[in-house]
Amino acid sequence: MVRLVASDPFGEALPVDQAGLRIEVGDAGALTWISPFAGQEQAVSAALEATHGLRLSEPGRMLASGEARCLWFARGQALLCGPALAADLDGLAAVVDQSDGWVSLKICGEQHVDVLARLVPVDLRVSAFPSGAVVRSLVKHTGAMLVRTSEETVEIFVMRSFAKTLVGDLREASEGLALRG
């Protein structure tokens, strides 16, 4: 039988390696969008805790447990990253597979904040945006979700069709920064 081969949204665009900066494909795994129905937040949290060991995250925060991460996504919405959803949320929450809808990359190295400062209108320095912080903002013109995963790394999520634009914008910003020497 014919098989459909999966393609990589970033293709050859990644990784990018420069002095003080590396951009590589994120390892978000399966992405499940979860939006609890009215009054079901606690029940959803309990179900997630029982199966994945983490609760729904507070606004602007990420929770992690083993391979699983729960990212605040928007008002009343969360994104479960890593394993496929194991909890039964039927009747408790709207659930949508977004594993192919959103893609992520990681930008790391000592210059990552300076590169992002050319594109993102949010203070992403560790002092203001510590590990585990999540923000929805813009990367240049593109709507994005940014997550600090370590002191040296920010993970950026965008809708899949914007993947090349995201890499191009990051590249351009880092080239401008590199010109400063």
Partner: protein
Amino acid sequence: MRLAGGGLIDRGLPLRFRFDGRDIDAYQGDTVASALIAAGVRMVGRSFKYHRPRGIVTAGSEEPNALVTVGEGAAREPNVRATVQEVFNGLEVRSQNAWPSLRWDAMSVNDALAPMLAAGFYYKTFMWPRAFWEGLYEPVIRRAAGLGALSGEADPGRSETAFAFCDLLVIGGGPAGLMAALTAAEAGADVILADEDDRMGGRLLAVREEVDGKPGAEWAKGAVTRLAAMPNVRLMTRTTVTGAYDQGTFGALERVQRHRAQGLRDCFWRIAAKQAVLCAGALERGIAFPDNDRPGIMMAGAVQAYANRWAALPGQRVVLFGNNDSLYDVASDLVDAGADPAVYDSRAEPERAAEGQPFAVHAGAQVVGTTGRRGLERVRIATVRGLREVRADCLCVSGGWNPAVHLTCHMNGRPVWDEAIQSFIPQEDAIPGMRVAGAAGGVFSTAGCLASGFEAAKGALDALAKRVVPVAVPRARDGHYRISPLWVVEGPGRAWLDQQNDVTVKDVRLAAQENFTSVEHMKRYTTQGMAPDQGKGSNVLALAVLADATGRGIPETGTTTFRPPYVPVPIAAMGAGGRGHGFAPERFTTSHRASVARGAPMIEAGLWYRPSYFPVAGETTWRESCDREVRMVREAVGICDVSTLGKIDVQGPDAAAFLDFLYCNLMSEVGAGRVRYGLMLREDGFVMDDGTCARLGEGHYLVTTTTAAAGQVMRYMEFAAQVLRPDLNVRFASVTDQWAQFAVAGPRSREVLESLTGPVDLPFMACAPVEMCGVAGRLFRISFSGEHSYEIAVPSRYGDALFRLLVAQSEGLGGGAYGMEALNVLRIEKGFLTHAELHGRTTAFDLGLGRMVSDKKECIGKVMAARPGLNGPEREHLVGLRPLAEDGRLLAGAHLFAEGAEAIRENSAGYVTSAGYSPTFGHDLALGFLADGRARHGEVIEMVDHLRDVRTVCEVTGPVFFDPEGGRMRG
């Protein structure tokens, strides 16, 4: 002349650049202005209107005269201030506004015509004939007057934009700014210190004063070293804060590598600061005496800066003229630099007596005129003993100091008149969270600047709830600044106020005489204070003249409004990154590479790129490809990527009720596994968007939108859920990017599908899960072509593979991929709508879809759609158009007229929205809107395209040309 020693230039690093083709030697640390002065060049440009010879006046960004063009070819940049441009090896500088040369400028004839060219002369002179203004007078005047010119080519220079954040932004790195930054930084605040110069220190670099027992420049260097070592401090040199905006946001222009031959030109920063301290210093102003614009006449403080900082002396025999104490330090520094200065103080009794000074001091004296053809030669002075004339090659003028209040006015603050210093000072709290320190606040002694910088930082730290760590304020010179007002010296000859715009005292008086007495009117009538320098030097002087001419005081007259930016900001900096493809993000479908590989030209649809057509060997025009693709779909099968249509997953117990509220037709009665076409209205009753809505399960729908309106519909749904119907328990998410979706259209579409999925038995307007090559997908039996067709969706990672597979399978059956052009022709033949028809001014009634507005429920827009005037023969209805002659052309955008009616606006009965050649029918077809069109089927009308000069007689028909019964689609 370059002094033998001293200065803050690096004599170990000699540089060479060119000015008007002449080599000029300079040192590292020189600006173009300081190097020209050191080289003895006095005339650097011709003035805006009268083409008068002009020289350097100031030593900073406020320079009105020394505007030059830098660089060559496409990258050349006009109106660069020579006082700001740092020298580098190979720099090319040209003077402006002179032809054939700076020395012999043909247009200097304007100067002789000056009596005719006073303020407002255009308005009085060039009134008739009316049409001549735009066609003749204005272009001629614009050519005659002016500054430098752009190259006219795309600028290859590279700039960037960036964001920065801090607790405290200190604007200006003079003594006040350095002290404020040190105080805040020691307390642990996150500090940005920005200064427009290439090194911090402000006036400490220009004067010879001691701070903390050391030369001021050395103290500044030490302070900068201390700040640079602190991790909570960011020093931004060459950075001018250009504007103060809401919520602590500041704009700033950084001249990143303009001091080098190559590299980044500018960075436009947006700085978000919790608190700010303005330490922008003060700008020296002139005195309006006759012929005060000759090269060699300069601000006293600037001459002091050139001598002390750049070791460059603009002249040997120097006359100093002014009304305040600051002249004496300048004179004393000039003596030490080896010049021969004489002070003419307008005050009858200057504070500092002549005795003991190593230079002559004349009290109660006024400069009443100057002479010199291309530069100052002689100065005429009225003294208590009578008129005298002295030879001089430099005249230093000081009419007082204006605090740089500009930023405090950017949010409507009005500066306040301070009688003691005869200047405007900032209004308190003019910018929320911003304090003012140092000379910007009217504090003119070094000790006062340091103390006020410290106090301002303390205030900011208080507001930030940070504890002040005691920082010693260093010892420095204190003293009072005394000034006695002197604005104008009367006498024969023109007295210039605004050298950049060639505005004289007479012009301002003329404005007052002609009743332009408001300072804002005067500005616009005379052009005083416009253009690059925005009147930094001339503003207060001009309004003093206006105050006098109108018999008011200066405070009552007031200033014009200072608006951002403080210095000119290139659009290339603000819009950096927005060139070409950077203008907007680009969205790519999963089939993009496969389409490009097949040679398909890609066209933009919203942010997406979609294939226009897929050319095959032998096809030379898009029409050939398009016609073939249309026939292919009608006769066999075609594949089209439709992933760009918006897809919104809607879930919840109230999902059905929510969609009933959004769509004008009923979605709650759609059974599971069925699909329905729907229309969404805006609140005003007009159609917003159309699309299909599939019910995937009991409380689970998939809404599709058009490509262009996907974002708008999502936004509208959020608004409806959060604001209009928060009572409904419903959740939704965009899944546009999750699914790659392809139309498989044509009589053989089922064969293509079944080759991949096994037997398919899906009725028209149904949907079902499907497994395809081991991947779970979704199958919809819907059609946008009028053919038996499907749309199949798989997770996007498989989109590329599936597209290639579908195209290969259909090619085996005489089909293939089709693009936007064929898709458009197919839907026009079938009378299907796009945003050409749903253009925001059409109602469901206009489109012939009035019956879709359900009377069983309420929905957004329903009430407003029922308004009188939206539902009758007075409306323009959707119709089809067919040319009577087989080769008659129908064109989108053309207007429709009753046969025989004159084709003028008043007679327009409608317009064409979509048109194209139909290979199925063998002639053009069009959709359009025609007044009472549904009652006029069969009527013959005329289509007139005035732009392309095409007239076509055509028949009005129903909008569905192809298979009106729908047998092919449903079967």
